[in-house]
Symmetry: C2
Subunit: 313 residues, 2 copies
């Protein structure tokens, strides 16, 4: 059996064709293609879904177009505070980090928490201590200084009339965008994996943690059912335990991946008021890319099918 499949996302939100230039659109498409290729090359060579997910997310984290890693947005205090998580569907092992700064690739730190500690979830300064102990790759403030992100912070601060009134990134043209990246994959051995990484919210305060580092909410993988990575208004994704809900609808109610995705993203989340989307793969390699926002940066590729890249509805 040489069947494999991978899907990635680069965030969801108010992404409209009308507010996109051809150059910007092409830059996103190239970035998505590079990231999916980074994952696919591992799968094609018989590598693990877990490694393919990490590799695809590293590619997205290293690209300033996405709100994760290098392109992470600035918090209210001008820092980059990033969150990430990863899960292995074979044995339900998982790793997550939250509120970390100066780590080049948060997804790799999350993977190290899974593989090199007895813990699942490390946060803040303690997570940085762990990163030092395992010799994780650090990057300085210059690496993370992306002028567009800094401008976003200044604009967000100017409009900050209510202290907590920033549940989404404020973009140049008033767009809402939930900046997160993620990947899900099935390898030729039939194993599933999922990972998610985010730079959080522009002008974020109070050490807010979204769904990205929460196993069950933003990320979940289980060979029995599916692997999921979410992007959207994290508070709603936490309350709805979105990623695990899709797995449960499949395992306990017998829904297909598509039926479960439609139920959660298009029905339950909409009723709760939660905007966003997710990428999903089941243990047959079927892929779904549902979202209830205007757009979602997304791509998928399987051994036996062509590359698909999508941005708008």
């Amino acid at each position: 059996m040489n069947k494999y499949a991978i899907a990635i996302h680069g965030g969801a939100g108010t992404i409209l064709k009308s507010s996109m230039t051809d150059e910007k659109e092409q830059a996103y498409k190239t970035a998505l293609e590079e990231a999916i290729h980074a994952g696919e090359v591992i799968l094609k060579n018989g590598g693990a879904a877990l490694d393919a997910v990490e590799s695809a997310i590293i590619s997205l984290e290293n690209n300033p177009l996405f709100n994760a890693g290098k392109g992470a947005v600035f918090t209210n205090t001008g820092k980059n505070e990033m969150d990430a998580s990863i899960m292995n569907g074979l044995d339900l092992r998982a790793g997550a980090v939250a509120g970390i700064s100066n780590i080049k690739n948060p997804i790799s730190l999350a993977k190290a928490v899974m593989e090199k500690s007895e813990h699942v979830f490390l946060a803040g300064a303690g997570a940085i201590d762990f990163a030092k102990k395992i010799n994780a790759e650090f990057a300085d403030a210059d690496y993370f200084f992306v002028p567009m992100r800094y401008d976003q912070l200044q604009k967000a601060k100017q409009s900050d009339t209510i202290a907590l009134d920033h549940t989404a990134d404020t973009f140049e043209n008033g767009e809402k965008k939930f900046g997160t990246v993620g990947a899900v994959a099935m390898d030729v051995h039939g194993n599933l994996a999922a990972g998610t990484s985010t730079g959080g919210m522009t002008n974020k305060k109070y050490g807010r943690v979204g769904d990205s580092p929460i196993i069950g909410a933003g990320t979940y993988a289980n060979n029995t059912t599916c692997a999921i990575s979410c992007t959207g208004h994290g508070e709603f994704f936490i309350r709805a335990v979105v990623a695990y809900d899709i797995s449960c609808l499949m395992e306990y109610k017998g829904l297909s991946l598509k039926e479960a995705c439609d139920k959660v993203v298009m029905d339950k989340l909409v009723k709760l008021g939660g905007e966003g989307g997710l990428i999903a793969i089941d243990n047959k390699g079927n892929i779904e890319l549902p979202f209830n926002s205007e757009g979602m940066y997304r791509a998928k590729k399987a051994a036996d099918s062509d590359l698909y890249i999508g941005i708008y509805k």
Copy 2:
């Protein structure tokens, strides 16, 4: 309809009758009775399940016998870093805090995150900034200095041959104990709520976050199904998304509360290697208190039944 019910726990682990004195046992029983009374008085007067849960947990947090609030254990650096979460079954609103110090009642801060912010989950120094903004009650290091907890840290440090080798509290006699407190309740209006609060692990490093502040893992409440608060080896509870799993088994597979609890605590968690227990209440007021460890400090009371207090198997 004047039916209400409440259950609480004060942690699970290697709690053996043989290593307990009569005085110590009586002190725990008195503390559990006080806590359940603090919640019941609210329910009896027609108050909200959410408030009863908060009140019962405040009572447990204020008692140095339990690893939460005043009795929180010390981290490796000699600090108290506490986590808590709360969820309202009526509307799936939730609040959580992680890695906080010097807050007298973490459960009340979690409730404030739910009620006074647009967020669900705040961590570390940012959560403390939020606590200052809303005038939460702070307590100084003297308040949290419980000699027994300090001695536990010294002993844990002495035996710390492997940096991350502390997944459970080390007690005087080598017992493992997962120190957490929690409450679940159904009020006379039929609404459910759940809350969990913990002082973490003695000698904790690296900003480890367990399941207690994770909605879906350590805490979950949904009027459609049940309210759950967990205590145990948190890493396994996160990977198994324990609290939401019970809700899903009821909603999607039609299991009773007891069947779902047995499946998750006595079967799935045991297979994964996860030790601990939980308290659960369904929307008919049925209560389950399952655990797969040697013991769990627990109590329950309903409008139409006597107080039950249990410690051992």
